[in-house]
Structures are given as structure tokens and as C-alpha cells.
């Protein structure tokens, strides 16, 4: 048990240490509101992180999540402004995410274009489409119902936090205990063996990307419904944050292993670290450096632990 959850426990310890130190030295960090803001800011990143974990476990990469989030957000906002009921707005965001993810998946799984290339293309193309379509104008003002999802509190915590937790738990179950979940791991750890074992590897790859897109659609709704406008810059750089969290969370960047719980803890650790810089008065220029150091430490630890450096690198097949 200790070994199986080793990475998660390590991050949890780091998280506890950092939060404990902040709570002791910074009385305002202990505040319930501070905790709530950190959990809420982590919620949508965590949901994107679920999809990214699956993609990376399957031996692939998806760097288009930030652009997909912006597309979902801007179209959802436009629809809400046009008077569509919120459930339809949410459904549209999910459908758009699924559609864009499926496009990524189809190009990667069936046309066999490397995922780094496909998602680099969608990252750029979707951003371009946004500029062309919005001409830089933000979507606003939004109707009063827009902020219901993002700002309603249950038991003291905003709805996005609960939905995020539910999504993480559901995904953890699916990945660990269902056939499709195990197939993702099988595909990532050894694609040849997976194929020989009768797994439709193309189908699994396709669905991993499609679900990643769907989760971006969900994350969009958890994120932008907290604000009274949708800015065209939404989601910029999200891929870096999420991939960092996934790697820090213990997912092997070469595929085959990793958990969504680890990713969620990774997201929390990065979120708390960001806040810690402000609370401790550390120059914000360190933020990027610290994130980079996290990646190096996590990946090095991983490679040393698994002895991967002896194997040839295979990535972005």
C-alpha cells in the first residue's frame, strides 16, 4: 500500500509541510476564505488534469487544452448572452470540448499523426480562430444566471470544488477498476503488447483524447462561471500548468503509469506554491523557476525510481 501510493503520499507530505508552515507563520492563510479560493482555483485545473493524466498514461500528450478551454468559454458565453438557458450552455461547452477532443483523437489515432504535432496545430489554430472571430472583444455582459454554477456554495465551498472532487473520484475509479481504464494503462506501458492482447489501440487512443476534450468542456464551466465576462485570453498557458501538475503528481511522462489523485494533489501543490509566493513575499519572478524545478525533481525521481534511463525514449508516437 505504501509503495503503491508512494508518490501521492510524498506530494501530500510536501503539501502538508508547505500549508502547515504558511498556516503557522501567516495567520491569514489559515482563513477559511483563503482555503476556499485555493480549492476553487485548483478545481478546474484538476478537471483538465484528469484528461491530461489519461492522455499521458496512454503515452500521448495534449497541449491544446488551453485553446480548447478558450473556445468553449467564448462560445458558451456568447450563447448565454443570446438568452440560452444555462443547462444548454453547459451542454454546449461539454459537446464542444468533446468535439474538439475527438478531432484531436481522430487525427492521432486514425491518421497516425504524432499527438505533439496535432495538438500543437489545434493549440495554434484555435487561438487564431478566436482572434479572427472575436477580434479581441470580450464576451460581456453576461446574464445573471451565468455565475450560478461558479459562485453557489454548498457546505461552505463553491460548487466547482465539489464537482471537481466528484470528477477526480469518478475518474480514479474508472481508470483503476474498469476494462477501458486498464486498457489505457496497457496501451501506455507497451503498445505492441496491448495490440497483441487484442486491445483496439486506435479506439482507446481516440477516446482518451475525446474524453480529455470533454473534461476541458466541463472545466470551462467550472472556471469561467466565476466571472462576469469571458476574456479572449482565457486558458493561455494552461497546458504548461496542467502538464506540470500531472508530472509532479507522479504520472510517468513516457506513459504507462500515473493516477488522477496524484495529479489533483500536484495541482493543489502548484496552486498553494503560487499563493505561498505572495504570502511569503517572495519575488513573483521565482514562480516560473519553482515550477520548472518541480518538473525536474519529479521527472528525475521518476526516472531513477523506475530505471527508465536505460530504456530508449519513446514519446509522442
Amino acid at each position: 500500500m505504501m509503495m503503491r501510493w508512494g508518490r501521492e503520499l510524498t506530494i501530500l507530505a510536501a503539501l502538508a509541510l508547505l500549508s502547515g508552515y504558511l498556516s503557522l507563520t501567516q495567520p491569514n492563510f489559515r482563513d477559511a476564505f483563503t482555503l476556499s479560493t485555493i480549492l476553487t482555483n485548483a478545481a478546474y485545473v484538476g478537471v483538465v488534469g484528469i484528461g491530461m493524466t489519461m492522455v499521458i498514461v496512454a503515452g500521448q500528450i495534449d497541449i491544446s487544452v488551453g485553446s480548447m478551454l478558450a473556445v468553449c468559454a467564448l462560445i458558451a458565453g456568447t450563447l448565454a448572452r443570446a438568452g440560452a438557458p444555462m443547462f444548454l450552455v453547459v451542454l454546449t461547452s461539454l459537446a464542444l470540448g468533446l468535439g474538439m477532443g475527438a478531432l484531436n483523437g481522430a487525427l492521432i489515432a486514425y491518421l497516425r499523426i504524432p499527438s505533439i504535432i496535432v495538438t500543437l496545430a489545434t493549440l495554434t489554430a484555435l487561438r487564431g480562430a478566436i482572434v479572427w472571430w472575436t477580434k479581441g472583444y470580450w464576451v460581456m455582459p453576461l446574464p445573471p444566471g451565468w455565475k450560478f454554477l461558479g459562485t453557489t456554495h454548498i457546505l461552505g465551498l463553491p460548487l466547482p470544488v465539489w464537482i471537481g472532487w466528484a470528477a477526480v473520484l469518478a475518474a480514479a475509479y474508472v481508470l483503476a477498476h474498469t476494462i477501458i481504464g486498464r486498457e489505457v494503462y496497457a496501451l501506455g506501458s507497451n503498445p505492441q503488447a496491448a495490440r497483441l492482447a487484442g486491445i483496439d489501440t486506435a479506439r482507446v487512443t481516440f477516446w482518451v483524447f475525446a474524453v480529455s476534450g470533454l473534461l476541458v468542456g466541463l472545466a470551462t464551466m467550472l472556471h469561467v462561471t466565476r466571472f462576469s465576462m469571458v476574456q479572449t485570453q482565457e486558458g493561455l498557458g494552461l497546458e504548461f500548468l496542467v502538464i506540470t501538475a500531472v508530472v509532479v503528481g507522479g504520472t510517468n511522462i513516457f506513459g504507462g503509469s500515473g493516477t488522477v489523485v496524484g495529479t489533483y494533489l500536484g495541482v493543489l501543490l502548484l496552486t498553494v506554491t503560487s499563493s505561498a509566493l505572495t504570502f511569503l513575499g517572495i519575488s513573483a519572478t521565482w514562480d516560473q523557476a519553482i515550477r520548472g524545478a518541480f518538473i525536474l525533481v519529479a521527472v528525475t525521481a521518476d526516472i531513477v525510481r523506475t530505471g527508465r534511463w536505460r530504456q530508449p525514449v519513446r514519446w509522442a508516437r
Binding site: 501567516q26 491569514n28 492563510f29 482563513d31 476564505f33 483563503t34 479560493t37 482555483n41 482572434v131 477580434k135 479581441g136 470580450w138 460581456m140 455582459p141 459562485t151 472556471h223 466565476r226 466571472f227 462576469s228 465576462m229 476574456q231 485570453q233 482565457e234 486558458g235 493561455l236 498557458g237 494552461l238 496552486t271 503560487s274 499563493s275 505572495t278 504570502f279 513575499g281 513573483a284 519572478t285 514562480d287
Partner: protein, 351 residues
Amino acid sequence: MRYIRGFALALTLALLVGLAGPGQAQKALKIFMVPKFTGAAYFAATEKGAKEAVAELKGRGVAIDFLYTGPSVANTDEEIRMIDDLVAQKPDAIIISANDAEALVPVAKKAKAAGIKVITYDADVADPTARQWFVNQGTFTLVGGALVDVVAEQAGNSARFAVVSADPGAFNQNSWIAAMKARVSAKYPKMQLVDIRYGLDKPAESFSVAQDLINKYRGQLDAIIAPTSVALPKVAEAAEQAGLAGKIVVTGLSTPNDMREFVKKGTVKTVVLWNPVDLGYLAVYVAHATITGALKEGMAKQSVRAGRLGTREATAQLNDITAKGPLTLRNVILLGAPFRFTKENIDKFNF
């Protein structure tokens, strides 16, 4: 006799030609205006002001052919190409907002060498000798100072404030911050800039650093300044969600359209920027004065009369504060004190 008649005819012809001479002054002045790109409400506002000035000048008997044209998106190459084409039409003056300060120097020089009066507005070219005048919408000193003045007025002369900026390396952001510091030490010795955080011009990051500031300094922070339009609405949002709307002063640089809701709600009482309508208006008056010779390049102590704006001083040298130390601007005409958008006036603007 025949020679005399011939001479008289020649004289009459010469006289006629001579009379036609002054008539040539009545030929319409060609003034072209090239924004960074068209289609943006901001530049459309400068166009509106420019056309207002053209109409006023026409009303005073000055014939003007005015053309507003530019790239449809911010594109340096396209802008250079368009200016090249416009130069071939030999206008009397061309008013430019440069997409790229360095890249537009050669084409501006070429236009100036062809005898065209070159005026920059909104965004200058890197070399001040490549143009006659830069119509400056607000120096770092003026704009940074105005933000601090807003904080002083709304939160008191001993306010503690923080800044949510864009990128730690952003020159304009850092220059405004340098100007804020200068204003604080010169005018409000008890005021304190307690923290500067960076949202990297990403909405989510801007929001979370604003929250961190509010959470950390809960009750001990009187104001937050966001000199970037991406961060300002997120700072306002963070203040609202912390229950501090109206209790913490939020101000910054943005446009009326982007901040309208927050200004109307009162979360943000004042948004600072300049008035692009006035900017375009002044640019045309400057172009006209340069054509007529009322404004002469390089001469100290001049002024230009700009209709409803009154007179504006044309300065051969103007000192400004930047992130990289003092900067001397050459041959500039200042629009004036930065404009404050408030609940009372914001609906008059659409950009």
C-alpha cells in the same frame, strides 16, 4: 504692332497663370491617417476625433481630403506596404500609429524625405527624426501619476496599495510602476506600495494573484492598481468575491467598454486612460499646423491651437520616467492629463 499684340497676349496669359497661382493654395490638403489596425473600437474612436477636426477645419475654409485606412489586423508588414502606397499619392501629411517602432522607421523617413509631413500618434516610431511630431497620449509620468492620484483621492494620502501587473519584464508596465513610485515619493510620503504581483496577462493568474493579495493583507490593503486591461477586471472580480467591493479601491488602465459593468456597479470608481477621440482630433490639428508651417520642427516654445481642446504645447524635449531610467522624448505634443472614466461619463464612450 503684331509683336506688341503678341506681347500683350503673352502678358495676359502670364497674368492669368499668375492669378491661377493663389488658386492652387485652395487645392485640398491631403491628410492620410494610418492606425495600427482598423476595426478596433479604440482606433475607430481616434478616427471619429480626426474626422471631427477635419470637419471643423473645413468649416473654417480649409479644404481637406482626409483618408483613414490601415491594416485590418495588427500587421507590421501590411502597414509598411500601405504607407508605401499612400506615400506614392503624395499627401501633404500622414498620421501614423506604428505597429512596430523600429520597423516603421525607414518608411517614415522615406515619406518625410518626399516632403510629406509625418506625424505619429498613439505609438511612435523609434527614431524621432523619422517624423515631425509625435502626438503623445500620456507619458509614463503622467499616467502612472494619475493612478496614484486616484488612490490618494479615494483611499487617502496614507493608503497602502498593491499593484497587479502583467509580466515582470514588461517595459510599459514597469515604467508605469516606476512613475507611480516617483509620484508617491514626491507627493504622498505616507503612501506605501506594499507589493507588486504579476498576472502575466492571463486572466486566471491575474485573478489568483489578486485573491492572494486580498487574502494576505486582509483589512490592511486600501487599494489595488492594475495597469493592464487583462488584470483589471479580474482584480475587481476578486474584490467583489471577497466582499470588499467598494471597501477596497480598485483602479487601473483599461477601456470604457471593458470596464463598463464594474464602473456602473461601483466596484471600480475610476478607470484611467486617455481619450482616443481627443487623440485623433489633436493629431489632425497637429498635421494641419505642420503643413501650414505654424508648427516648425525642432523649434523650442511653440504651441498649436486645437479647436475645442484649446492650445497644446509642442515640446522639443520632454523628460519622462521609464523602467530603464529617465527618457527624453523629442518633438512631442502632449494630449494632456490622462482621462478618467467614471460612472458619470463612461456611457459617452464606445471603445
